[in-house]
Amino acid sequence: MRRLALSSAIFRTLANELSDFAGDYLERLPQLPSYPSEISGQQTEHLFGGDIPLEGMGAAAFDSLRSVFEHSRPASPRFVGYVFGSGEPVGALGDFAESVLHQNATAWRSAPAAVTIERTVIRWLASAVGCREFR
């Protein structure tokens, strides 16, 4: 196996762990502080500013995931800073599935389902803002 590739078994293990991690986080999200306490630029630089890894990291690439979440501004119900997407958990699952499919949605021949779905969603959005004739 090439060093950058994950085995199917490790992928399944990681995906299950990440799923549980995400579920736990989403359950705690409404009660979390709206900003990480005592966070500083030096701290995040120290944690995440390391050198490029020249060897494939495998599952270890996820070792700092908890720290990444702890040093992030949560999408809390008390976040009223900027316009953002809904952040609904189902959207995260959709992103996951989309990344697994990994399409180039530039032409129907390249991404038959995705191109059709994209046009469908644009039609839905147009309809939602009153442009019902959009095709």
């Binding site: 709206s34 119900p77 009223v80 316009v83 809904s86 952040g87 939602a128």
Partner: protein, 108 residues
Amino acid sequence: MQWDAGSLDDLRLAHLLADSIDSEPRLERLAPVALSAVCFRYVEGGGDLNALNRAILNKVVRRGHVYISNAMIHDKFALRACIVNHHSTEDDVRSVIGEVLSSADELR
């Protein structure tokens, strides 16, 4: 909840926040609330209000109860709450005012 009901509820909460600001003499609203954004500032005590409100913004964010942002409106530094989160409740939105006033008290 349907998506359009969620959007309408966000607009209701934005107006609720605007009304609460208008009835609080220590705060001044800086723009009409046409959609989701509510821009205002703390005015009691006078002085360099831009510097004061910049400090208030930093304090509010660091206190970790609500996260708001900012805008410049006719050279006035505005605190900005943008209500587009369908998980936000009336209490969440009202807490913006309490956090701004408490932060100002800490700075004064």
